[in-house]
Amino acid sequence: MLFLRSFPLLWSCLALMIFSPLQSADLSVVEKWMATNTQVSSVKIDFTQKRTMRSLKVPISQSGTLWMDYGKDRFRWETGEPAQTIVTKQGGNLLIVRTPGKKFEHRPFGSGGDNQGMSVMAGGFPRSMSEFTRKYRVLSTEKRDNTFRIATQPLGSAGKGVSQFTFVVQASEYRLVGMEIELKDGSSINTVFNRVELNVSVPGSLFSPDLTGYKETKF
């Protein structure tokens, strides 16, 4: 269906006006941020996410944890306490688990529009300058309070439907502390990293949740 194919362009003009590509971008901030990632093999992030959608009267807030294992190209994303929704990625597949209804779905990564916005998590944060420039085009860098805001446009299929992707980097240590995604329909997702642990132990069971008693479905 046409509905499943497209995404809006509404914010593109505005984004262009605000973050003109001709505006000079300070790539040294990105380079310093990337330098902090070189020795990172895994990461655990406790986050708070706020989704503001035009179609909903009030924004949605939720807390969760993200584990990323760079070595084996896998992640686990969960929200709620106890976990309500768990999403894991191993190789090219996503497993989506909803604990309240005891249901799950296997889905090839990229098939359900999940390349929109969340691909950064799914694909792992860029860890080198060459990877960053391959995946993002920097529109601008701005220092605000004690952070640097790196406004980018995701390249390739990850850019579909995304008006702007902003990485928020701590000004003193150049660690990533949050992300802001503006979608082209006017919706936005702000994610704040409350705690970041590097090179943590990531047991394999984290990425293979026990599905006993769960029923496969299509969400």
């Binding site: 269906m1 046409l2 509905f3 499943l4 194919r5 497209s6 995404f7 809006p8 362009l9 509404l10 593109s12 003009c13 262009l16 590509p21 001709l22 996410q49 989704r51 959608m53 035009r54 179609s55 909903l56 009267k57 009030v58 949605i60 939720q62 994303w77 929200t79 709620g80 309500q84 929704t85 999403v87 996503l94 989506i96 909803r98 359900g112 529009g113 999940d114 929109q116 916005g117 969340m118 085009r137 446009q153 995701p154 390249l155 390739g156 299929s157 850019g159 579909k160 439907g161 995304v162 979608l183 082209k184 329909d185 006017g186 919706s187 997702i189 969400f219």
Partner: protein, 799 residues
């Protein structure tokens, strides 16, 4: 009359001819010159008639990144919309907010038109005791799930109306159901904009061409301006394709081809005349006569045939090459005899008229070909040579008679009996056929190219853009439009179902790899009638459902789609009270449905798509086509045309050879001359075989139709030379000086006429011109230089 300055005469008739060329109406539809009984040709015709819009231009946008393409398409669309004098409408793939606003009409129509059981099931979920649960589940899913595009869509469509696609698919063949044409490539870097042109009559390619002359700079100027606002390394490719671009391109190419080939022929023939006769005044009158012939023939052709096809473009140059021969005969006779015009006509008139009649018959024999374009070209040349004979006899002859006070016997090129020894002629006679046989066994056997490219324009930016579109958009690669027709909507549904069964069988046999059927997009009166009652019941629940959506936390934007669907259902229910089926309402719905369903001149047509496993093979065409199903397949069309041409050659060419052998027997009454004439033909054929095996020159379904013409000229030349040799008792010098010089001029001028088509825009026409020019030159060389020696050998004349 000869006191009038030749330059003025020439200019007057050149203007007359140019005016005639400019007033010719060319048909830019390539399928109009092909056999109309082929399903592939019918498919192209029906695709054009029912689904192509004359004024619909397709603008392709290719960027390195999807967001660049998005922004470019958005900006370009706005630019185009700001020119209502050029564009009545602009369509691009809609953004989500636009889909929410405009998609309601389409979704409502699809539910109404879908299977009643699907709607019943959906209506059950909207019951008072269940709808709030469904809405709450949607909200929970949006709040808790991994955030992705489907979550965004669900937030605008909490009841799941947009899952109609899944619902329809569940009862059908998974991936093979269809949606509207995709307008964006998988990676988003390639996108298309459909533009409805306005302000001109797009059925006239000249007006379409003028319109495009305004559109191209507009788009180019926008591109340059837009790129200045982007990063320095940003690149953007813009292409124009679609009916107006094709028509303007083909039409302009045909006008150029005709003009260039005619004027090139005129110039080369003039040079040839000058080399051989060294006289300017008669030359001016001769060329003027040819312009007059062209003008009269074009007028008659337009009157009789209406629009001329791309193949007919070549007729003018061929005609010039043939008609000039009559003028030369008259001129030489006038110079040699000193006769006045009436005597001149009595002297050479019968011969010229017979020659014209014979040539006309040869060209009229092209009517036996299945190729309509070739028949049309043959008819035009036939008319032209008759007109040419009359113009030369009644217009040029009186002028030529006025020049006969200045004999020309010693002017220009002369031929002698020297240059080709008996020994050399004997070696050549053996070598060429042997080399031909060897090259066939060592190289490839000459065969017809199995593709459609001979009928295409060589340099075609719009075709390149179209091919890029086919390549980039999902499901378009190697896909073949399939048109299914009927006399009413109910019959169309039945025919599509039957076609689906045949297509499915072909798929199971491995003939097809994919099918896309338009079933959901064809009005189904039976479904709609049965669904009306359910829709009326649902409409009574509208306010309750909308309130529930709002109470669950969805904003006005979140309930907008649901509201527009209910509004559309109200309109459709009202329509169904008055007519057999409801027509889709709203810009998106009308656009989407019209891409796959059309009613034109009382014919109901649906557009499906199939992807053949072997596009060049025809077995899949036979498997799925019948009297109401046809395919617009260029791949199999090449094979179909080759089959048809082979059949034409067998049915036309072989009986023609038998008849001519019989005639030659009667004409020569000598087995030696008969064998000599036939050997000359075989020898020329062997030379052509060598050329097609050892050079890039190849046979195709277009140029192979030149074979009967080459056969005719070869025979003609050999007859003339053999009779001249008979009259001179084997005197080679005498024969070459007389008929040899005439054949040299006639052969060269005809070769020039055909050869001037080498630059033609259509591959096929250019290859026809090259093959015929080479063939005629070979025939001429054989007749003038080899036949005299072979004649003496056959008749054992030693001194």
């Amino acid at each position: 009359m000869t006191r009038i300055p030749p330059l003025i005469v020439l200019c007057v008739f050149a203007v007359l001819a140019a005016f005639s060329v400019l007033n010719v109406k060319f048909s830019a539809n390539l399928y109009e010159m092909l056999p109309e009984d082929l399903p592939e040709v019918q498919g192209m015709d029906q695709l054009s008639r029912y689904f192509n819009r004359d004024g619909q231009l397709i603008i392709t946008v290719k960027a390195e990144e999807s967001f660049v393409a998005d922004e470019a398409v958005e900006a370009l669309s706005e630019k185009l919309k700001s020119h209502p004098e050029l564009f009545s409408d602009v369509y691009r793939e809609l953004s989500l907010p636009e889909l929410v606003t405009e998609g309601g009409g389409l979704l409502a129509w699809l539910w109404l038109n879908g299977p009643p059981e699907s709607l019943d099931k959906f209506a059950e979920e909207l019951r008072k005791d269940r709808s709030s649960e469904k809405i709450a589940t949607a909200m929970e899913s949006i709040q808790s799930r991994f955030f992705d595009q489907s979550a965004v869509i669900l937030s605008y469509d909490p009841l799941g109306f947009s899952k109609i696609g899944d619902t329809l698919r569940s009862g059908l063949d998974g991936e093979d159901t269809t949606g509207p044409d995709p307008m964006t490539s998988e990676d988003g870097t390639f996108q298309v904009i459909y533009v409805e042109g306005s302000g001109v009559d797009f059925s006239n390619y000249r007006e379409a061409s003028e319109w495009l002359k305004e559109v191209r700079p507009l788009v180019q100027q926008w591109k340059e301006t837009w790129l200045k606002t982007q990063a320095p390394d940003t690149s953007l490719e813009i292409g124009l394709t679609g009916t107006p671009a094709f028509m303007a391109e083909v039409g302009a190419a045909m006008e150029k081809d005709m003009t260039v080939s005619v004027f090139a022929t005129m110039i080369l023939i003039s040079i040839l005349f000058w080399v051989m006769h060294r006289r300017s005044k008669p030359l001016a009158w001769l060329v003027s006569s040819m312009f007059a012939i062209l003008a009269i023939t074009l007028g008659l052709g337009g009157f009789i045939f209406g629009d001329l096809s791309v193949m007919s473009v070549g007729f003018a140059a061929i005609l010039m090459g043939l008609a000039v021969d009559y003028g030369i005969v008259i001129y030489r006779e006038a110079m040699n005899s000193g006769l006045k015009a009436p005597e001149l006509r009595r002297s050479v008139g019968p011969g010229i008229l017979w020659a014209a009649a014979t040539t006309a018959v040869v060209f009229l024999s092209l009517n036996f070909s299945s190729m309509r374009g070739l028949s049309e070209m043959g008819n035009l040349v036939a008319i032209g040579v008759v007109v040419g004979a009359l113009v030369m006899l009644f217009f040029f002859a009186p002028v030529a008679a006025l020049f006969n006070s200045d004999p020309i016997e010693d002017k220009g090129t002369q031929l002698s009996g020297e240059g080709m020894t008996s020994r050399l002629a004997g070696i050549v006679a053996i070598t060429i056929p042997v080399v031909a046989i060897v090259s066939v066994f060592v190289g490839d056997m000459p065969k017809l190219e199995a593709n459609f490219h001979p009928f295409r324009i060589r340099e075609s930016p719009s075709m390149k853009s179209w091919q890029q579109l086919q390549h980039e958009l999902r499901g378009r690669k190697n896909s073949v439009p399939t048109v299914i027709t009927a006399t009413n909507a109910i019959e169309l549904v039945k025919n599509v179902k039957e076609a689906e069964q045949r297509i499915e069988s072909a798929k199971e046999e491995g003939l097809l790899t994919r099918k896309v059927l338009p079933m959901s997009f064809i009005p189904n009166p039976e479904h709609q009638k049965n669904n009306r009652a359910t829709i009326l019941t649902l409409l009574t629940e509208k306010e309750r459902v909308l309130n529930e959506i709002g109470e669950a936390g969805f904003s006005e934007e979140g309930s907008e789609l649901t509201e527009t669907i209910f509004e559309a259902w109200e309109n459709y229910a009202a329509q169904l009270g008055e007519q057999a089926y409801a027509n889709p309402e709203g810009r998106l719905a009308e656009w989407s449905i019209s891409r796959l369903f059309s009613v034109e001149d009382g014919v109901f047509a649906a557009l499906a798509t199939v992807t053949p496993a072997e596009p060049l093979d025809r077995s899949w065409v036979t498997a799925i086509c019948n009297e109401n199903t046809s395919v617009a397949s260029l791949g199999s069309l090449g094979s179909a045309l080759n089959e048809r041409i082979r059949s034409d050659l067998l049915q036309v060419f072989l009986p023609m050879i038998g008849l001519l052998v019989l005639m030659l027997t009667v004409v020569f009454r000598s087995w030696r001359d008969l064998l000599l004439s036939l050997f000359a033909l075989l020898f020329a054929a062997a030379a052509m075989v060598i050329l097609t095996v050892l050079t890039p020159l190849k046979w195709n379904s277009f140029n192979v139709c030149g074979l009967p013409l080459l056969f005719g000229t070869g025979l003609d030349f050999s007859i003339h030379m053999i009779f001249a040799l008979r009259r001179g008792k084997g005197d080679i010098g005498k024969a070459r000086h007389g008929i040899g010089k005439a054949l040299l001029f006639c052969g060269s001028s005809s070769a020039i006429g055909f050869g001037s088509l080498a630059t033609a825009s259509a591959y096929g026409l250019a290859s026809l011109g090259i093959v015929c020019a080479i063939g005629i030159l070979i025939n001429m060389l054989v007749a003038v230089w080899l036949i005299p020696r072979w004649y003496r050998w056959v008749h054992r004349i030693n001194s």
